[in-house]
């Protein structure tokens, strides 16, 4: 029956296959770019060293070397581990990444799926990775892994709330949950009657943007929020017992998720795939010009690189929080602040509309 359906609507099937191929590109390619650019090179220059230099020009083939190395490594399942769950955990974590990528728009028509409740869907599936992390931590049957998994769960749920509440401010301003609609709202907006830049929500939602960045940093378990995988205390936490390609999958998922969150942040706060509206006037085109489907991904890539730069900059600058400081920061500072942000945004929206 399924097969009959695929044949009966051939254009839709082709369209979907193209979408799936692009999904792999969107998830894996930027991950490779940021790992080389920031994790290998930028951190090296920050720490007065050269980083990888041997593989390819300026070490740019190092990534392929790493993948090749991990492909050849033995896949060790600890004797006490719960084998099925242990094997499944990396799948679940990467699934969260792919599902997050579904809603990101890259151009007027260049969307994977233009869900009406895009923001809501993205926030919902971003927490699926917690399940994978707990699965990994529990199934390893190791004390480091269990502690890392529990810490990750405590941290991810604590920072899930500021993340959700920070986005509410944007939703109030845009009046829609559709990510494409949020991009349009930012293009059509004005700053004190001046429409040349549109109205990227970072200008009025800077508190929300700050909370969003901090929460994303914590969701990604990057330093200074890296207690779940603290290598000096927990030896990589929930990843302790993983080896070979399953370990690399956690690694890829972490960096791919960083990029997708940066894409999401760019869409919500920096105007998404749209160029500033004065460029429309210069080119003499309207906001839905078909070539924006080609320009849009480039614009998004640029904005994504800016946001991920901030993520890695913070990562390589700050020391690690203590576990209780982390929880205190989320519950006693970020959540009250985001509630105040929602209230103020609501009042201003109603007063000025």
């Amino acid at each position: 029956m399924m097969l009959a359906w695929i044949w009966s609507d051939w254009p839709w099937t082709l369209d979907t296959v193209v979408r799936l191929i692009f999904a792999i590109v969107v998830v894996l390619l930027p991950a490779g770019v940021t790992v080389y650019l920031y994790l290998f090179k930028m951190v090296s220059f920050m720490q007065s060293r050269l980083g990888p230099m041997e593989a390819g020009p300026y070490g740019s083939m190092q990534l392929l070397a790493e993948v090749g190395k991990n492909l050849q490594k033995e896949d060790i399942f600890p004797a006490k581990a719960d084998r099925t769950i242990f094997a499944l955990a990396p799948y679940v974590v990467l699934m969260s990444t792919f599902l997050l990528a579904v809603v990101i728009p890259f151009g007027p028509q260049a969307t994977f799926v233009n869900l009406d409740t895009g923001v809501f869907f993205a926030l919902a599936v971003s927490s699926v990775s917690v399940v994978g992390v707990i699965m990994a931590g529990w199934a390893s049957a190791s004390k480091y892994s269990l502690l890392g998994g529990l810490r990750a769960a405590g941290q991810l749920i604590a920072y899930e709330l500021p993340l959700i509440l920070a986005v509410v401010g944007v939703v109030i301003q845009a009046g829609t949950l559709n990510l494409q609609g949020i991009v349009t709202a930012q293009t059509q907006g004005e700053i004190f009657g001046f429409g040349g830049l549109g109205h990227p929500f970072i200008l009025t939602q800077f508190i929300g943007f700050f909370i969003f960045l901090v929460a994303v940093q914590a969701e990604l378990t990057q330093v200074p929020f890296d207690m779940p995988i603290a290598e000096s205390e927990l030896v990589s936490g929930y990843m302790t017992e993983y080896s070979g390609f399953r370990f690399l999958m956690f690694f890829i998922a972490e960096f791919a998720t960083a990029n997708i969150f940066a894409f999401l942040g760019a869409t919500l706060f920096l105007g998404g795939w749209q160029v500033p509206p004065f460029v429309h006037d210069l080119l003499g085109v309207d906001a839905n010009w078909q070539y924006f489907n080609l320009i849009g991904p480039g614009v998004m890539l640029f904005k994504m690189l800016v946001l991920t730069f901030v993520v890695y900059w913070v990562r390589f600058t700050f020391p690690r929080f203590r576990e209780d400081q982390l929880q205190k920061f989320a519950w006693k500072f970020l959540i009250p602040l985001s509630l105040v942000n929602i209230a103020i945004t609501g009042v201003l929206k109603v007063a000025f509309s």
Partner: protein, 124 residues
Amino acid sequence: MSVYSDFLREYLVVALFGLLAFATVGAFVGLASLIRPDRPTPAKLENYESGVDPVGDGWSQSQIRYYIFALLFVMFDVEAVFIFPWAVGLDQFGWFGLIEMVIFIFILALGLAYAWRKDVLRWV
């Protein structure tokens, strides 16, 4: 084709994306299984505990605080779900909707303050 069918198709693509993630990991792990060595020894399959022999079971008891934080999270998360539809429709609701929601957020903040006062937000 009805509108309903388009709606379902959107979520079919979403489901396919989830399957694609499984296929990607499966393909890589499958490729690795063709070329990687597989020589397990009892010492290799032991859990890692800083190089010494592991003591006791890996599945140890964990502290109650995780449970309390999870409960708090569920409460706040469910309430966040109510805030979203309100945020979308704020233009139509006007002052009436705003005052309603400010009361709601105030009660939410009151709950947080209560938890704070009861000292359950302290990670001991």
